[in-house]
Structure formats: structure tokens, C-alpha cells
């Protein structure tokens, strides 16, 4: 797709240094993005503004969870410490999670959720597409699978951003407020990591290429804010993550090994 060539990815894979930011950290970061996004989206179940949207958000959450499970399982294998997907999802504390802050932000109103969904998909689509061509076969398989789903999420988010932005005065006001609120958190998605299998910094042009025209069509203003909160990749999170994890992990921690 031209976002990142296979050669570039292969080169990066070869450049991976010991202890710098190995594929374990990278894979875990992607897994945590997907897992926390899934958990947040699932909060909408039975509460979305219309039934069709309820189903849509649950389906997108399921896609994110599917990708998270594959990535967590692989991260566990890379680590080689015997941790499986459940151990990684349920038995780590907030400081051990590597997701970006964007996905842990509270859902807010529907416009905030759509802004988060749209920006996340506009990042995950080129990310997974680049992964599909990377040297690591497992990551390539996961990327090749997940990118198809991300493309659908991106369409869905873009449709709503346009519909709300170019809708009524009230929907426009709230969609703009949502974009303004979430925008600063998008910068963390593209923090440079030249040693990673895919350097997130290389994904920024593809993101801008998608986001710009959608915001314009939605009659929304692209925020100019330079504020760029970060820390998620290093385990320094907002207060929101611990509450989310408490709810997500309580059953497994109260009943170790519990299965459906």
C-alpha cells in the first residue's frame, strides 16, 4: 500500500537491538491498545444511542479483542516466561500496561467515542498493513488479518464523524468538542521507535492523509494544539486505566483459572 515497504520493515527487524525495544515490548504495546479499546467499547453494550449502533460497537469490540488475544498470546511466547494471554490480560497492574492513553480515556458522549474510534482506526489500519509485510511471520499474519477489520472500523468511524460534524448545530458542536478533546492524545500513537518492527513515526503521513479530508468534509476544524500527553508506552497512565482494569480483572483475580 506504500505506507511502509517490506524492505523498511525487514531492515527494522534486523536492527532490533537487545534490550532496546524488542518485539516483546512492541507486540505487548499493540496488544494492550487493542485490549483496552475492546474493554472501553464493550461498555457501550446496551447503552448505545440506537440498537444498530449497539451491535456495531460490540462487533468492533470483538474484533479488537480478537486481535488482542492473538497479540497477547504471541507476546507471551516472545517473553518466554510462561505467561499466556490470560496471565498478561488479567494479572498485570496498570503500570505494566503499555497501551497509549487514547484508548483508556473514558468513553464520554457518543461523539467522543467516535473520535477515539476514528483516530485509532486511522492509526491501526496503516500499522497492521505495514505489519502484514514485515519480516516477523507471526506479526505479519496478525497484521494481514486485522487490517481488513480495521478498514471497516475506519469506515464506520469516518461515517459518524461526518454525520455528526456536518449534522445539526448541536451535533457539530459536540463532534468538534470531541475532536478537540481527543486530538492531543493522537500524537502518542506516532512516537518514534526506529528499532521496532514497524516504526510508528512512519505511520503519521497515512494517518494525516485519511483524517484531514474526513474532518474537512465533516466541516470540523483540525485542532492545532501542540499539547501531546504521553506516557502510556512506558506504563505511566491516567487514573482511568486502573479503574478499567479493576472491572476487567476482578473475576479472574477472585477466581483464578475461572473459565466460561
Amino acid at each position: 500500500m506504500g505506507w511502509l515497504t517490506c524492505e523498511r520493515a525487514n531492515q527494522s527487524a534486523q536492527q532490533r537491538g537487545d534490550g532496546v525495544n524488542g518485539p516483546f515490548d512492541f507486540t505487548l504495546a499493540l496488544a494492550d491498545d487493542a485490549l483496552i479499546a475492546a474493554q472501553r467499547l464493550a461498555e457501550w453494550t446496551t447503552r448505545a444511542p440506537e440498537m444498530e449502533e449497539d451491535i456495531a460497537l460490540a462487533n468492533i469490540a470483538l474484533d479488537q479483542l480478537g486481535a488482542a488475544r492473538l497479540l497477547l498470546s504471541y507476546a507471551g511466547e516472545l517473553e518466554g516466561a510462561g505467561r499466556d494471554e490470560d496471565a498478561l490480560a488479567y494479572l498485570r497492574d496498570d503500570r505494566q500496561f503499555r497501551n497509549v492513553l487514547l484508548v483508556e480515556l473514558p468513553n464520554g458522549d457518543f461523539a467522543v467515542t467516535m473520535a477515539k474510534l476514528f483516530f485509532l482506526a486511522a492509526y491501526q489500519l496503516p500499522l497492521y498493513t505495514a505489519l502484514a509485510g514485515c519480516a516477523d511471520e507471526r506479526l505479519a499474519a496478525i497484521g494481514g488479518k486485522a487490517r481488513k477489520e480495521s478498514a471497516y472500523h475506519l469506515d464506520h468511524g469516518a461515517l459518524w464523524v461526518k454525520r455528526l460534524g456536518d449534522g445539526t448545530e448541536e451535533s457539530h458542536r459536540r463532534m468538534q468538542a470531541a475532536v478537540d478533546h481527543v486530538w492531543p492524545y493522537t500524537h502518542e500513537l506516532f512516537a518514534a521507535d526506529p528499532a521496532a518492527p514497524v516504526d510508528p513515526a512512519t505511520l503519521r503521513p497515512a494517518f494525516d492523509e485519511v483524517v484531514g479530508p474526513v474532518l474537512a468534509e465533516a466541516t470540523l476544524t483540525r485542532p492545532g494544539s501542540a499539547w501531546a500527553p504521553a506516557g502510556g508506552r512506558a506504563g505511566v497512565h491516567s487514573e482511568h486505566l486502573a479503574y478499567l482494569l479493576a472491572e476487567m480483572q476482578v473475576l479472574h483475580r477472585a477466581h483464578p483459572g475461572a473459565k466460561w
Binding site: 500500500m1 462487533n59 480478537g66 486481535a67 488475544r69 499474519a141 481488513k148 461515517l159
Partner: protein
């Protein structure tokens, strides 16, 4: 669960592994087999040990039916006289609706589920093609919801006969 049991019961003892596994129906779209759906990738029998290795791939990464499908495969193989079975899941190449067989498409349509159009080539701008109503055949249809009762379906409605129907999304 009654229907799951009957699916395995249809497999006669002595059936070859490939035929036995190919008869397993999709637990969420029960008119079509996993073979017709294109998620059954390989069935291999080790002639020495008799061990059967089945390779499947999910439609969507989060497909919640995978556990049931794995269990149904083992059940069908056991009924056919192959109790030693391993089910492997692969993700590459990713499943495509283009892998649904012609027979599978006809069965979907007969069950009121509009089959998917061919997947557009990579890089091609996606556009919404007319989806024919599986009941009356009219192309005058509209999408009601981009997502449906399962991850692989969307909800549509026919403007000619007014019936709602499922559409298997091209992927």
C-alpha cells in the same frame, strides 16, 4: 446443543476424515458447512498413527464460534472412527469471502442471507454495490446497519418486498 449433536450423528462410522470434517456446519450460520464457508484449510491423516490434523482459519479474529467449531470437528471425527485428532488454527493467508464456494453461496441465498460480492482488489476504493434481496431478487435494497447478528454480516432491507435480510459482508 441438540443440533450440534445431530450434526455429528450424521457422520457414519468409517467415514474418511476429510468427508467427516467437511460435513461440520457453521454453528452461527447453520445452513452452510465449514468447508463451503472456506474456513476449513486442510485435513491430513497420518497413515501410520491414524492421527488426523485439521487446519482451520477464522472468519474474523474475534469470532466466538471457533471453540464450538473445534469441538464439532473433534466430535465428527470421533463419530467417523478417528478419535485421535488435532485442530490447528492459522491466520495466514487471511480468510476471504471469495473462499465461499458456489454451493455455499446458493445455500446462503436460499436461507435468506444475501451472499457477498467479490472482494475488490487492494487499493481500489470501496463502493457499495447493489445487494440483491435474497427473497424477491430485487436490487432495490438498502443497508439498515453496517453490523449484524454475527461479525460477518450486515443488516439490509428490501425496498421492493419490504423484508429485512442479512448480508454476508465482502471481506
Amino acid at each position: 446443543m441438540v443440533s450440534v449433536r445431530s450434526a455429528a450423528q450424521r457422520v457414519a462410522a468409517g467415514t474418511d476424515p476429510r468427508t467427516a470434517v467437511a460435513s461440520v456446519v457453521d454453528p452461527e450460520i447453520r445452513v452452510i458447512t465449514i468447508d463451503e464457508l472456506g474456513i476449513l484449510r486442510a485435513v491430513e491423516e497420518d497413515p501410520a498413527s491414524g492421527r488426523v490434523t485439521v487446519t482451520i482459519t477464522p472468519t474474523y479474529t474475534g469470532c466466538p464460534a471457533m471453540d464450538v467449531i473445534r469441538a464439532d470437528i473433534r466430535r465428527a471425527l470421533a463419530a467417523a472412527g478417528h478419535p485421535d485428532a488435532e485442530v490447528r488454527t492459522v491466520y495466514s493467508p487471511p480468510w476471504s469471502t471469495d473462499w465461499i464456494s458456489e454451493g455455499g453461496r446458493a445455500k446462503l441465498a436460499a436461507a435468506g442471507i444475501a451472499p457477498p460480492a467479490p472482494v475488490p482488489a487492494a487499493g481500489v476504493v470501496s463502493l457499495t454495490l447493489a445487494v440483491r434481496c435474497p427473497r424477491c431478487g430485487s436490487p432495490e435494497t438498502e443497508q439498515v446497519s453496517r453490523f449484524g447478528s454475527t461479525a460477518c454480516k450486515a443488516l439490509w432491507r428490501c425496498r421492493s418486498c419490504s423484508e429485512p435480510f442479512d448480508h454476508l459482508k465482502a471481506l
